[in-house]
Amino acid sequence: MATVTDHDRLARAESRRNADHVSFLKHKRYRWLWIALALAVVSTLGYLFIDQEPRPNGGSWYGYTLGTIGLGLIVWLSLLGLRKRKISEGRWSLKAWTSAHVYLGIALIVVGTLHTGFQIGWNVHTLAYVLMLLVIFSGIYGIYVYAKLPTTLSEGRNQKTRGDMLDEIAVTDRQLDSAAQPLEREQADLVIAALRQDIFHGGVFNRLFNSYPGCKTKRALGGFSEHGEQAEERVYRLLFQRSEQLDQIRRNLRTKALLEVWLFIHIPATIALLAALLAHVISVFYYW
């Protein structure tokens, strides 16, 4: 008997280890994908075959049913933010929870859209719907970039840590500072401007599009000649080097921005969605 128990325990440990390496998307052989798919299909079939008089609408019994399911899903999905801060294992492991979050979230597109009865307008109800879509599609984007971008992120770094990159620039800056000492005022000012500008200068769009029209290092480069006097040439080379180093940092910033930007939509839009849902539900019954 003991051997059987041992065997069982080994097998369990083995499957646990394997499970640890299974993506949340493939969790339990796509269990939540199938559940979500079933929800979407059943909702659609119901919409098509249950006759709603005078027309499909959020206020028919089927509409209320879809609305209630949708509301419950949204509240539950938004609880991931709380759940992920508590770590547990097993049936309700964070991985299972995340898997369900993703697939049920996507199924919510179907449930929510059918709940609208395709009646869209400039009102609080459509606002809630649009926020819901914004949350879901930003989430889908998030899954996509989480799957694709981390490799880009590490490839672009050339084995360097971010600290390394900053240190490199700091070295270049010190060299620039001393190399620029003999320069006249005008060129010295260009170098000062380049050195004083924050390495992380630029907003979210500069980062996302890797476009920095206000880059002082690039501007300083324009004020120097590659073939000037010894000092000028030396400063030019250093500025060029600085510019290259900045490019590397900015490529990293871009990847990181692409990787993180969805959360800046997903989370605030979720909270706004919960507020809009509250307004939606209250207003519908206030003016019943």
Partner: protein, 612 residues
């Protein structure tokens, strides 16, 4: 003369390193150039930036050598003077030069110190995170959700709660009393209710209470119930379980149930016209109604082409009857109108009546239906309605046949001649007619005084002759007229009332079919002849009821789902029946010009039509 230059540097450990040197000169140059007396390796400093020179009276002049100014005791200047006894601070770039009289023998002391650069406040690597370039998620979430809860929830709710309610009145609609509640509207109102746009509180009177019938009836005060409400409830088929659950919840929360106004008249579906209900809407109850309402007098109906009860016109089935009664056309009804009138004789193109009509200038041709049966003129109808009340549609399309207008050309009532004009017997009242008959002077009367003739113009045949004898022949004429074979009995049935000869009263209804609405306008000459539907040309008796049967209507009219051809007209219930106005068309008469329906091309409408 000399300057003592003291340089103070701070080591990493924090220890101060002080180095002194003396420059034997009256003038110092401060700059970035290595040749400067005081060399400041600071890019913001000019190659030769400031000159410091001794002046008369032990003062020190400080002046800019290039274009850039410097700071003297905190003031940005291009030149200045320092009294070394009091001391002064010159700031060049990030360096402070404190000028003062030195400790020993008249040397001017200049102390050089670097201003500490502000330490970086954030961990440098943190700049890589996007968070450093974005407003925080928490901030965005707060702003977004608070804006929504204030603008789209709190403001409408509060302005609704604290408004001054207005008396319900369609001429005095409350407008925009509730701020921002237009953001709650799920869609535009129907065409008929367009004026209520922006007056949400006119219908949504009480928070969390659904729109009540009572509110609808404030304006629609004349609308009638389709039938007695409890009977309607009994007549409804069982609901689907989904509907049943919804209604049980809704009714618990104060909604007025599936027979309330808003159950059918949904709003906020866009600027559409009120549409006639489809056949299924009626059939839901009227198909199999007899099983739920066992005492109804009419049969089930679900499709005009397949299941519809026979017409049951309201006619007088007996002479002297007070009220007409419903009789199914299947029961071979006999109409006892009190008249004798063979349609066939009058309509025979080759008969005597036709010859007579041809000879009369008034007709000049064989009789046609319209010679006797004429549609109401609008003036006539207005008079009729004002005298007898009701809706115009109650009086049908055709005016009552007028004997003097339609019959008298042949059936003359002329009783005598006075000068150039004729006298005639008054028609319509037996007493009046008898009075007129009594005046008829035809046969000779016995003279009052015999043996003597009156003279001149007073003699018989003279202008002033008067016969004062008993009008025996007049009495005879009266009696003859209302007796069988007499003048009146050509068309009327003689009878006796209170011992006297009399005529049976004429009982002809204005309108025969009351459960639905029919207009001859839609069945004009291009559609059918009168005799296609009314078998008048073969009717020999006035007791024949010439109302066409259901079957004859079905020659053209089949149910809503019938395929339209040149002769077949798909006909839903609403073509003949109104819901609230069974004897009138469903479209209200006071809105005949309602524009057409709005777009029917929404995804839901298309899906809906596909399903049907």
């Amino acid at each position: 003369m000399a300057f003592l230059i003291r340089t103070i540097a701070t080591a990493k450990s924090g220890r101060k390193i002080v180095r002194d040197r003396t420059v034997e000169s009256d003038e110092l140059v401060v700059g970035r150039s290595p040749d400067s007396d005081i060399h400041l390796p600071d890019l913001s400093v000019d190659l030769t930036h400031v000159g410091i020179s001794r002046a008369a009276g032990g003062l020190v002049n400080v002046s800019a050598l290039g274009t850039l100014p410097f700071e003297l005791d905190g003031q940005k200047v291009e030149a200045g003077t320092i009294d070394p006894v009091q001391g002064g601070v010159v700031a060049v770039g990030s360096t402070l030069l404190t000028v003062s009289s030195g400790d020993d023998d008249g040397k001017i002391q200049i102390v050089i110190e670097q201003v500490d650069k502000a330490a970086a406040t954030t961990e440098p690597v943190a700049g890589f995170a996007l968070a450093s370039a974005m407003p925080s998620k928490r901030t965005m979430a707060w702003i977004g959700s608070v804006a929504i809860l204030v603008l789209l929830l709190s403001i409408p709710v509060l302005t609704h709660l604290f408004r001054a309610p207005v008396e319900q009145d369609q001429d005095n609609l409350p407008h925009d009393q509730v701020a921002l509640d237009s953001t709650w509207s799920t869609g535009e109102l129907s065409m008929a209710h367009h004026e209520l746009e922006g007056s949400c509180e006119a219908c949504h009177v009480t928070p969390f209470v659904s729109v009540q019938d009572e509110t609808c009836l404030t304006c629609h005060e004349d609308i009638a119930d389709h039938a007695d409400m409890p009977r309607q409830a009994m007549g409804m088929p069982a609901m689907s379980s989904g509907d049943a659950i919804q209604w049980s919840i809704a009714e618990t929360l104060g909604k007025e149930g599936p027979l309330g106004c808003v159950a059918c008249h949904t709003e906020h579906e866009g600027p559409v016209e009120l549409e006639a209900a489809n056949q299924q809407f009626c059939a839901d109850c009227h198909n199999g109604l007899d099983a739920r309402l066992t005492d109804v007098s009419f049969g089930n109906a679900s499709d005009f082409g397949e299941q519809h009860p026979q017409f049951r016109p309201r006619i007088y089935t007996a002479h002297f009857a007070d009220e007409p009664v419903h009789v199914s056309l299947d029961d071979n009804p006999v109409e006892m109108s009190g008249l004798i009138f063979p349609h066939d004789i009058h309509m025979d193109d080759m008969g005597g009546v036709a010859r007579m009509a041809i000879s009369l200038g008034q007709y000049g041709a064989p009789l046609e239906c319209s010679d006797c049966h004429q549609e109401w003129t609008s003036e006539e109808l207005i008079i009729k309605v004002s005298e007898e009340g009701g809706k115009p549609s109650f009086y049908g399309d055709f005016a009552a046949v007028d004997m003097e207008e339609s019959c008298e050309a042949c059936h003359s009532l002329v009783s005598g001649r006075v000068g150039d004009s004729f006298t005639s017997i008054r028609h319509g009242d037996v007493v009046e007619a008898m009075e007129d008959f009594a005046r008829v002077d035809r046969g000779p009367r016995r003279p009052v005084v015999s043996g003597r003739a009156r003279p001149g113009q007073f003699a018989r045949g003279g202008t002033y002759y008067s016969n004062f004898g008993r009008p025996m022949s007049g009495y005879i004429a009266v009696n003859r007229a209302i007796q069988p074979g007499g003048l009146c009995t050509e068309c009327h049935i003689p009878t006796t009332s209170e011992g006297r000869a009399d005529l049976t009263p004429v009982n002809l209804p204005n309108r025969f079919l009351f459960g639905g609405y029919f207009t001859h306008d839609a069945h004009g000459e291009d559609v059918a002849e009168c005799t296609d539907c009314h078998a008048a040309d073969t009717s020999a008796e006035a007791t024949d009821l010439l109302i066409p049967t259901l079957e004859s209507c079905r020659d053209c009219h089949l149910g809503e789902s019938a395929v339209e051809t040149e002769t077949i007209v798909p006909s839903g219930c609403a073509m003949c029946h109104g819901y609230h106005t069974p004897t009138a068309p469903w479209r209200p008469e006071d809105h005949p010009d309602l524009p057409g329906n709005g777009g029917n091309d929404t995804v839901a409408a298309i899906l809906g039509s596909l399903r049907r």
